[in-house]
């Protein structure tokens, strides 16, 4: 299987108050294969989110390279990166970053209208399909103020998927949800992954990470270990075993 995403000697440094230098990412080397579902875990401040934003081109790396589908993206311009985000990537955030002045449906279709991937009618139909798939069909005409946190995260998932991206990035996608909603969201993401979309998420929740294929553990700006869990399937009914395996491993890591 080819790598969809790869980083080589990735470094990210922040300089605070023009003096203090914080090395958040230190020579990170990472490969994510096409169709993989990867999660990144680690203590607060270990650099999980920073890794996600740097590897996805949302933020500029300090040094090192990032390759997306074999092309180096760390040297692309702002505009080229924007196009890449529009057409090839989807993002889901912990907090609901939706546009307040658009309805739920319009939030979902906006990037597809921008990308002009197909006719507007087809885009609308796809949006409705995604909404049905994620169980929020009834919200089409609602404001974002008229939906719960769990429902809004599904809206964000629909938005991330509307342009049929190659990869979806999630920064604590269930972090602000109750456990029931979190479980539902992870089921949806697993389904999407089964359908072929690569997913990379950052999480601190064992239950969430247990549903991913491979777990990376970060400490002090570097990936120090990884655990292969294999593809998750609801039908296998092995979620408890996955969770236990992961928990043990994490304890070994000192988490």
């Amino acid at each position: 299987m080819n790598n969809i995403l790869e980083s080589k000697e990735l470094n990210k440094t922040y300089i605070v108050n023009n003096k203090t230098q914080h090395n958040i990412l230190k020579n990170v080397n990472l490969q994510i294969k096409k169709g993989e579902f990867v999660s990144v875990m680690g203590p607060s401040g270990s650099g999980k989110s920073t890794l996600l934003y740097n590897i996805s081109g949302m933020d500029n790396v300090t040094s090192g390279s990032v390759f997306f589908n074999g092309h180096e993206i760390s040297a692309l311009s702002e505009n080229e990166l924007a196009k890449l985000r529009l057409n090839k990537m989807g993002f889901i955030f912990q907090h609901i970053h939706l546009l307040k002045n658009l309805s739920i449906f319009d939030n979902i279709i906006l990037s597809a209208y921008m990308a002009k991937v197909s006719s507007r009618e087809k885009i609308n139909q796809r949006a409705l399909r995604l909404m049905k798939q994620t169980g929020i069909s009834e919200l089409a005409n609602n404001d974002i103020t008229q939906a719960s946190g769990g429902q809004l995260q599904r809206v964000a998932i629909c938005r991330a998927l509307i342009n049929n991206p190659d990869i979806v990035f999630g920064d604590e996608p269930t972090g602000a949800l109750n456990s029931k909603s979190a479980t539902e969201i992870m089921e949806i993401l697993a389904d999407i992954n089964h359908a072929g979309t690569t997913i990379m998420i950052v999480t601190h929740d064992v239950k969430v990470a247990a549903k991913t294929e491979r777990v990376l553990f970060m400490l002090d700006g570097n990936i120090i270990a990884e655990q292969q869990l294999g593809k998750y399937s609801k039908e296998k009914n092995d979620i408890k075993a996955r969770e236990n395996k992961l928990s043990r491993w994490l304890m070994e890591m000192g988490f």
């Binding site: 920073t50 934003y53 702002e78 924007a82 993002f91 546009l99 307040k100 002045n101 507007r120």
Partner: protein, 779 residues
Amino acid sequence: MLLNMLKKDFSRKKSITIALFIFILLSALLVSAGSSMIMELSNSLNNLFTASKAPHFVQMHSGELNQSEIDDWTSKNDLVKAQQTVEMINIDGSNLYLGNDAESEKNSIMDLDFVRQNTSFDLLLNLESQVIQLSRGEIAVPIYYKQQKNMNIGDKVKITTPSFNMEFTVVDFVRDVQMNPSIIHSKRFVVHKGDFERLKSNLGEIEYLVEFQLNDFSKLSEFSNAYQSSNLPKKGPSVDYSLFKTLNSITDGVVAAVVIFVSILLNVIAILCIRFTILATIEEDYREIGVMKAIGISQSYIKKMYLTKYVVMAAAASIIGFLASIFLNRLFTANIMLYIGTAPKSVLQHLISFIAVVLIFLMVVLFCSLVLRRFKKISTIEALRSGNIGDAKVRTDSLPLHKSKFFNIPIFLGVKDVFQRFKMFRLLLIVFLVSSFIIIIPVNFLNTIQSPSFISYMGIGQSDIRIDLRLTDNIVERYEEMNSYIKNDKDVEKFSPLVTSQFKMINNDGALENISIETGDFSIFPLDYVNGNAPTSDNEIALSYANSKDMGKNVGDQLQLVVDGTEKNMVVSGIYQDVTNGGRTAKALMPFNADAVLWYVVSLDVSDHTDIKGKIAEYEEAFYPAKVTHLQGYLDQTLGNTIDQLKLITILAILIAIFVSILITSLFLKMLVAKDYAQIAILKSIGFTLRDIRIKYVTMALLVLNIGIILGTIVSNTIGQKIVSIILSFFGASQIKFVIDPVQAYILCPLVLMFVVTITTLISIISIKKSSISEMIVE
């Protein structure tokens, strides 16, 4: 602690604080200067009228005069305190050379009169407001020429005719209570008694001012009626004390009014900016306000904390504005000081300016206090929980994206945003409306005053050439000669001889009054009428706007004239606008009064192939000393000065509008981008390029600008036109209709504003580069 807070807030919002400060400062400065101008004007006028012992009633007269008849009548009239008859030698412009000019005053539209100093009243003053005393060979020149021709002490004034030469040296300038203002087309030059006699015996054309001072000024109309019904000389218009006051104060009065108006406008903009700033600050500090409330700090204290900044800023700006105005006052009152002189400064003058400034300050503070009432609405729990201000919710059902057919998404989002958050955009809209208003009004007015059709506001039909024949010996024969010459001239396509003569009319009090009536055929060069039409039968009369207002007559009303000793009923057929001759004229079809002809005018059109300049030269020679003018030249002469000033004002207005637009657009957008930080970050995260986001914001600015321009244009062409009409009604034109150059008004001006606003927007939203979700999370 308070000082620390103020410092912190200032560094956080440096540019907006400085801009607000400048706005309030300018507003305070202008209101102080404007009110000071009005005080100065009124004080100086009183001073001038007292020092020069202004006459209460003046009858102009050209022709024979019997002083003993006047003395006799005066001695029997108890109302009269003093009487004096002023002799004026009217010098033909073509014989007068001012200063170093090689050109004579041939083309001047002024009546140039030489006089000697009066003895008892109507004293002619110098720049120190002292009575002018001259030796032989010396002359005092009207202030008008000091300003217009830049004349100086020591310059020469020459009178040259084929048979007579005389040269004077300028030693002083005349402050003339009657003929000071530039809008009065008569000017008095003062010479020594001996020189005057010499001029009189050589040039001899005398006009008289029969002047009166009354014991009781309030009985002026009674006196005027008595004079008009007497047989005393009155071949000419009569004027009175209140008219002198109006004419002397009108120019500076209008300027003062405009200055105060601009000040209020600036204050309104400042107040709107403050509202916007306060709301943005409250939104930013929402959580902090919640915390303060939660730990028990009272609402009034929190309010005071926010109010303090604006009170301190407004107070400082007002004080500096007021102090600056004291130093800059000279600039504003320079024209008053030159024409009217300075009165001793009183404390009251500064006090009134100060009160005006205090009012501006109070307006700002009151408004801030009103805006800060919003604190009441902030719920502690809501603020702490959401960190979002309650009213940030927007309606999403207007302009749904999925139903739109609009192709460009960033433009669509910009349009949608403006309509959804229209309340917030009001500030920008008002600024753009005001900006286009202050550009369009002077542009349209300038275009109107420069258009050939402006002649209709001067009570004259549109023709190529106009010939004026003033009262001279054997005028009737010369007039007839002139008519037959023109009639036989093959180059002339059509012509219309018009005679203005004086008639008596019975006024509303039943007394006799003089009225100048132009007679002839008014259909050849027709005029635009405000109401009704030109007279079509010999019992109809058309009145100028100023006359109809004075007399209280409207179309269809009756008017009694005395023609050949018998009363004649006339019906008012129409009302027209006329800014010439004090705006008091009339037109009728009846035969003219041969005993009291004031002037003859012939208007004519020449055929297309005729060289107008050549024709004018030919007529000048043939009809000497008649004044022959190309009508466009007549307009340029009469209005040239005004047009030049107006051009300056227009450029200034455009610059001010552009400056205000740049400043407010930049402040507004900087704050808007800060406010929209999260929304911009979201757009970027889903793949909007910086260019897409720029398009969105430029669309927003331009949409608001265009709405502002459309509203501004409508307001300019309706209310603005009315305001201009009100100002011009003082001069005799009541219904100005803008002659609009569509390219200038509807294309160039909006394009200039659009260009400026687009560039300003692009520069102001540079910070959108910084918004990113990853940064938001890091923060």
